[in-house]
């Protein structure tokens, strides 16, 4: 019981940050290899493009991070994104609504949907996988009921958001969506690490029963988490509308898997309670950079593209595991 019983724990990166650190290093390594392999790859704009092209995914993945940290899962995000684009496009193009009320409306819609799913999950004790799967069917079904065609968005506000470039230097620029995504990440990071809600999310994810017995507001936390995810999906949907300038029921098919993959690649555990937002950001970047590499490669047929994505994912996860395990073996613990 003296201080000497304690193993030195403060050398290097603390163990809990190892997965994130490893992911970060691997991301940099990928970028460097790409830079050597392809001409005009190692430019700042390539990195910025990864942000531009994945701003919506980033926002959606932030919401997913909350859900996964709490030990749940949200399969509805992709459909909610599609529904958002569809509703925005119909209201603006079809009914001539102005942009801002539409944005407000869809954000509320996404949150309400998330809230409803969260409430069902908590109060009726149904598994999140199923509830959000039903939510996925529902949102996608609503898209098709609204219309099966793709609808263009010509609203000036949306067009401005889509086509404005914020210059960061010579030949370097980002879209406003990137800024929005960045703000979302910062706010979410703050919420997760500096508010009671955030810490409750971790606690509920760690052990829901314990959290309940410790007197934490489990119901509120779980419902909040799905509401946040719904909100983020809607916001991601708006960013996707900026990106595509169209609403379409087939937008963002399978985006839920991308979001989940990003969160997990970033080192979070699907069982909940472990992971960091920074990891999610890195996870999104890794997925984005993978795609960039593929199009720079430019010679892969469709199926080799898929195999290659799989292999890259595998290599990444394996390296992450191997390096991570070796690092975390050093301190004691069973």
């Amino acid at each position: 019981m003296t201080a000497t019983t304690l193993p030195a724990r403060r050398f290097g990166v603390p163990r809990k940050y190892v997965p994130v650190a490893v992911t970060g290093c691997l991301f940099v390594a990928m970028f460097v290899i790409g830079g050597f392999r392809y001409e005009s790859f190692a430019t700042g704009q390539v990195v910025l493009n990864v942000f531009i092209d994945n701003a919506f995914l980033l926002v959606v993945a932030v919401g997913m991070t909350f859900v996964i940290l709490s030990g749940g899962i949200d399969l509805s995000v992709g459909s909610v994104v599609a529904l958002t684009t569809m509703v925005s496009a119909t209201l603006m193009t079809g009914h001539g609504w102005p942009a801002w009320p539409v944005i407000l409306l869809v954000l509320v819609m996404g949150s309400v949907l998330g809230f409803a799913m969260g409430a069902i999950i908590h109060y009726f004790e149904i598994q999140p996988f199923i509830v959000t799967l039903a939510g996925m069917f529902l949102a996608r079904g609503l898209c098709y009921t609204i219309g099966t065609e793709s609808i263009s968005i010509t609203d000036p506000v949306f067009t401005a958001f889509a086509q404005t470039r914020i210059n960061l230097g010579p030949d370097l620029g980002i879209s406003p969506s990137v800024l929005i995504a960045a703000v979302v990440v910062l706010v979410a990071g703050y919420v997760l690490h500096y508010t009671r809600l955030g810490r409750s999310v971790y606690a509920v994810g760690g052990n829901e029963n314990s959290a309940l017995l410790m007197g934490l507001p489990v119901a509120r936390t779980k419902i909040a988490v799905y509401t946040i995810s719904g909100f983020c999906s809607a916001l991601g949907g708006i960013l996707l509308s900026f990106y595509m300038l169209s609403g379409y029921g087939l937008h963002a098919v399978g985006m839920e898997l991308d979001a989940i993959a990003a969160v997990v690649i970033g080192g979070a555990l699907l069982t909940g309670g472990s992971g960091y937002l920074l990891g999610t950001v890195l996870g999104v970047l890794v997925l984005g950079l993978t795609q960039t590499i593929l199009s720079f490669e430019g010679t892969l047929s469709s199926w080799w593209t898929r195999i290659f994505i799989g292999l890259l994912l595998l290599a990444f996860i394996l390296l992450q595991r191997l390096i991570g395990v070796r690092r975390s073996l050093r301190p004691s613990g069973s």
Partner: protein
């Protein structure tokens, strides 16, 4: 002691679980500024009463009053807000959060809604210092031993400004020093007028700290007594409903020096867990391990069972070197290990009592040779009777009371008929009757030739059972003492504290 108005009053409480009536018309009251012990055998309904009080389970019938007003809490949160702070029986914390957070989560010091982390760590450090606990408060809780976790849970509950403090078997894996610390804190709180409800199976502890005792038996109230008016023997009689014959006497343990060494660990060790040690266990010998929290007792047990990989050294059985690469390998050498943490490392909650009991046996036989239903029935019936396990063998094991769960775990390993049985805190959370039962069992088994490695936080118990006691200090096996008449708890304490050979 002037009787003031009770702060908690429960009357006519009934709680029915599917298959068990856990509480049947129980009355209970708790006065401010007293330590009130709730006593009863395993499965008597103590934990259930506490859970009903704090809203974990809704009551079926009966009334609860807090400070004279009827209440029905929707959950622990509501109870906490009303001033009832609780440590539940099994450590209920979040292993993924840091030690400090486990103490403060949900009530972190904040400024403009922003958590002040420095303050959190500082206060956590301070608080744990009060319990003489030296841990890195930023380390994840899961890296701490069960005992530390239990202390953290207590620290959390004590730190809440509450009118009522409930501690359900808080001392089950604490050693004497820790318990003393806890009692000091409890007395201080008592002086501040806080009512404390305390559950423990250690009678000495009850008599040391409790003012009043309520006894439950089979979900019914037996009575409420002042501690000083109720001698121990009567208490036990009230708990188990009959006289406990010869609790203290355990016969038949001549030092079995002549037998063959069964297992020898030579310079076995694992970096960061336990320093290399050499230990011989003979057939029919009971070897006790004594030491403080985190001194490495559990680590030794895990190494001998192959649960962790040894970093160096070797294990020999019957003169031949064996490698204990996995629990499987150890089981092949007829070694059994009853873990201290029954919830995380022992039982499979969802499986039935029957399945949990035959699990190891089945694993040993492999998937293709199922234990026949008849054999399983026979074994289960035998051990349910032998260990007096209360509960339906076909119900999930999680519905059993804590002590009965511990017995199930024990039964799992006893049916393996091992040559070396490693028991890590086997009497944790077990009532007096059952404890005597288990102790007698250990003696019987060793008389029958089985070697036992016995780990317990209670030095008395270690001394009573062991032929030889290994003393651990700072993860090092500092001494191995023959248990002759010269060895007393005091000499052991001295060893643990100083480590110097006496």
């Amino acid at each position: 002691m002037a009787e003031s108005a009770p702060i908690v009053r429960m009357s006519g409480i009934v709680k029915q679980f599917p298959g068990a009536r856990a509480l049947d018309g129980v009355d209970f009251r708790l006065l401010p500024g007293e330590v009130h012990a709730l006593m009863g055998e395993n499965g008597a309904g103590k934990s259930t009463l506490i859970k009903v009080l704090t809203g974990v389970h809704p009551v079926d019938e009966g009334e609860i009053e807090l400070a004279g007003r009827p209440v029905a809490f929707s959950g622990p949160l509501a109870a906490q807000q009303a001033g009832i702070s609780t440590v539940y029986q099994e450590v209920n914390l979040c292993g993924n959060l840091s030690v400090a957070e486990n103490i403060f989560v949900g009530r972190e010091p904040r400024k403009f809604g922003r958590i002040r982390w420095r303050e959190v760590y500082r206060r956590a450090d301070e608080l744990l210092d009060r319990f003489d606990l030296d841990v890195d408060v930023s380390a994840p809780l899961s890296s701490c031993s069960l005992a530390v976790q239990q202390m953290v849970a207590i620290a959390r509950a004590v730190d809440v400004e509450a009118k009522v403090l409930i501690l359900d078997e808080p001392t089950s894996s604490l050693d004497a020093d820790e318990v003393a610390q806890l009692f000091r804190v409890m007395r201080r709180l008592k002086e501040q007028g806080i009512a404390i409800l305390f559950v423990s199976h250690f009678l000495d502890q009850i008599y040391e700290v409790a003012d009043r005792i309520t006894v439950l038996r089979n979900g019914r109230l037996v009575g409420e007594y002042l501690t000083r008016e109720l001698p121990q023997v009567y208490l036990v009689a009230k708990m188990i409903g009959r006289e406990l014959a010869e609790l203290e006497k355990l016969e038949g343990k001549p030092l079995a020096r002549t037998t063959e060494p069964l297992i020898e660990a030579r310079d076995l060790g694992r970096a960061g867990a336990v320093n290399p040690f050499t230990l011989t266990i003979r057939e029919g010998e009971v070897v006790g391990l004594a030491g403080l929290l985190g001194s490495g007792r559990t680590e030794i047990a895990r190494l001998l069972f192959g649960a962790d990989h040894a970093g160096g050294g070797s294990v020999h059985m019957g003169g031949k070197k064996v490698t204990l690469r996995s629990p499987r390998a150890a089981m092949n050498h007829k070694i059994a290990f009853c873990s201290e943490n029954r919830r995380e490392e022992g039982l499979v909650d969802e499986l039935t009592v029957r399945e949990n009991i035959v699990l190891a046996l089945q694993a040993d036989r492999g998937w293709s040779r199922p234990v026949s239903a008849r054999k399983a029935d026979e074994l289960v019936r035998k051990y349910v009777a032998a260990l007096n396990i209360k509960g339906d063998p076909d119900e999930p094991v999680r519905t059993l009371s804590g002590g009965n769960q511990q017995k199930v775990l024990l039964a799992r390993w006893l049916i393996m008929e091992p040559r070396l049985l490693i028991l890590d805190e086997p009497t944790r959370g077990i009532d007096v009757g059952a404890k005597a039962e288990i102790q007698r069992l250990v003696v019987e088994l060793s008389d029958g030739g089985m070697a036992v490695l016995f780990i317990s936080a209670e030095l008395d118990e270690v001394l009573r059972l062991s032929h030889k006691v290994g003393v651990l200090r700072d993860r090092t096996l500092v001494a191995q003492l023959d248990n002759d008449d010269a060895l007393t708890t005091d000499t052991l304490m001295g060893k643990i504290a100083s480590g110097a050979p006496s």
